[in-house]
């Protein structure tokens, strides 16, 4: 499983890529997409919506189940990856290319882990 070292990771299995201090892309980790299985549906917020650290901003559905996606940061949605609405399988195929939302004006963030700490975290969770 692949977990790039230039990203940060949340305990709820999202990745965060900071583009600058106040702007970041958010997606599902490789571990998350593998655990969820084939993704067939995603609900995304709209640009301008506020997201809050630790709260759900989206839900994704695999063939079998629905899962919430939590925001690791508080801020405002600048952009959503609309490609995923028609091609949710991109989150399985390329979890780090398939970002869900871009957040700007970040005011707060959850406690995030680096890649090696994240791997230790989910291994201990299993």
């Amino acid at each position: 499983m692949n977990h790039p070292t230039d990203l940060y990771y949340s305990k709820s299995h999202e990745w965060v890529k900071f583009l600058d201090e106040k702007t970041a892309l958010i997606g599902l980790t490789d571990y998350a997409q593998d655990a969820l299985g084939d993704l067939v549906f995603v609900n995304l917020p709209e640009a301008g919506d506020e997201v809050t650290a630790g709260e759900a901003f989206s839900d994704v559905e695999s063939v079998k189940a629905v899962s919430d996606v939590f925001s690791p940061v508080s801020g405002v949605v600048a952009e959503v990856n609309e490609e995923l609405l028609d091609a949710p399988e991109r989150m399985n195929e390329d979890p780090y290319g398939a970002w869900l939302i871009k957040v700007e004006n970040i005011t707060e963030k959850e406690e995030l882990m680096e890649a090696d700490a994240y791997i230790r975290f989910y291994e201990s969770e299993e």
């Binding site: 299985g37 084939d38 549906f41 695999s62 079998k64 629905v66």
Partner: protein, 369 residues
């Protein structure tokens, strides 16, 4: 603590993601994922461990009378080796379980029941047995493997002589031998495709599993898990106990009227079914016309009024759209009826459609080799 099926080690070796199901640890999927497994069964072939299913024999000169008394279908005229599906009703007309009966001979039948219900079923059968009929729970002595998909006959022909391969859908051959292993080969399944189910001793299950996988390699045979089993049966609109029927849903409501023979001798539940008349709700198919995936236990609305509830739902991998089955008031069961489904607080538009969603070779019940 969940039990392991005789194929547990094989699942681990092949990368099965194990989950607890009906008291057993079974693979929900393998590394290829539910969609690839589903598509393999629709286009080539898939292999399933269904050893969790329960098997019960019914032996004695009153065996057939017992079946006709306990089951809604009619078992009077059957040839040896024929299989027949039936609901088993309680006095109120609700469903205790749905099952398949194989006729071995006049005084001997082999019954296959749902894993989650096998103890309940066995107790029910013993409680209602009469005359010369002995019910025996064989579940721990029988493993079951399903080979499903259009390539299944081709694969099996490489391993079994023609005389061992049942030709008719819903029939079986007893006392078959594949590579020295004794088994029953049945032309049945739960996927909406052609295919076979093998019943054999647990000690030999792993050997047959590996032999089938190896033999079907060039046809594209892969291991499939419970996830694909559910999406396949749902796409083919096959009912699942605990969803489309249960203790409080009658077979008539579940659209299984063809398996309820009111014209035969008295059977458990018949009075209630007759008294109840035409059911006030019926099983229908739904397709989402709005954005969203329909799941089980969601409220269905028409014109702002609740008209029923979904019983199963998923994203159908072959049809590539969200589908569901639902029990709706009979005023709302006509194909084309517009409804709304409450998906976690959001109303998703859907349409009533005819069942099944998917059907291979429409109207063709008999298959040939």
């Amino acid at each position: 603590m969940e039990k392991k099926t005789p194929l547990y080690d094989a699942h681990m070796r092949h990368g099965g993601k194990m989950v607890p199901f009906a008291g057993y640890l079974l693979p929900v999927q393998y590394g290829t994922g539910v969609i690839a497994e589903h598509m393999a069964v629709r286009t080539t072939c898939g292999l399933f461990d269904v050893s969790h299913m329960g098997e019960i024999s019914c032996i004695g000169k009153d065996a057939r009378k017992n079946l006709n008394h306990m089951l809604t279908n009619d078992y009077t005229v059957m040839y040896d080796g024929q299989a027949r599906y039936s609901p088993m009703c309680n006095e109120a007309g609700g469903v205790v379980d749905d099952l398949i009966v194989y006729k071995v001979r006049d005084d001997h039948y082999f019954i296959v029941v749902n894993a989650a219900n096998k103890d309940k079923d066995f107790a029910w059968m013993k409680e209602h047995a009469f005359g010369d009929a002995v019910f025996t729970d064989l579940s721990d002595q029988v493993a079951q493997i399903a080979l499903q998909g259009p390539k299944a006959p081709e694969i099996l022909k490489k391993l079994a002589g023609e005389e061992q391969i049942p030709v008719k859908y819903y029939s079986c051959k007893f006392h078959c031998r594949i590579a020295g292993m004794d088994c029953i080969i049945s032309r049945t399944g739960y996927t909406g495709e052609d295919g076979f189910e093998f019943y054999l001793a647990p000690e030999e299950a792993e050997k047959l599993w590996e032999l089938l996988l190896e033999t079907g390699k060039e046809e594209g045979l892969i291991c499939c898990g419970l996830g694909a089993r559910d999406t396949l049966r749902l796409e083919a609109a096959m009912p699942l106990y605990g969803h489309e029927m249960d203790d409080e849903i009658t077979p008539l409501e579940a659209g299984l009227g063809a398996f309820v023979r009111l014209g035969k001798e008295a059977f458990i539940g018949r009075q209630a079914l007759e008294r109840g008349g035409a059911p006030g709700r019926k099983r229908v198919g739904l397709k989402a016309t709005g954005r969203g995936i329909l799941r089980e236990h969601l409220d269905v609305y028409a014109g702002g009024e609740k008209v029923g509830v979904t019983t199963s739902g998923t994203f159908a991998p072959y049809l590539k759209e969200p589908v569901a089955m639902a029990l709706l008031g009979t005023d709302h069961t006509k194909p084309g009826t517009a409804v709304e489904v409450d998906v976690r607080g959001r109303r998703v538009a859907a349409e009533v459609v005819a069942l099944p969603f998917y059907q291979k070779n429409k109207n063709e019940r008999e298959v040939s080799l």
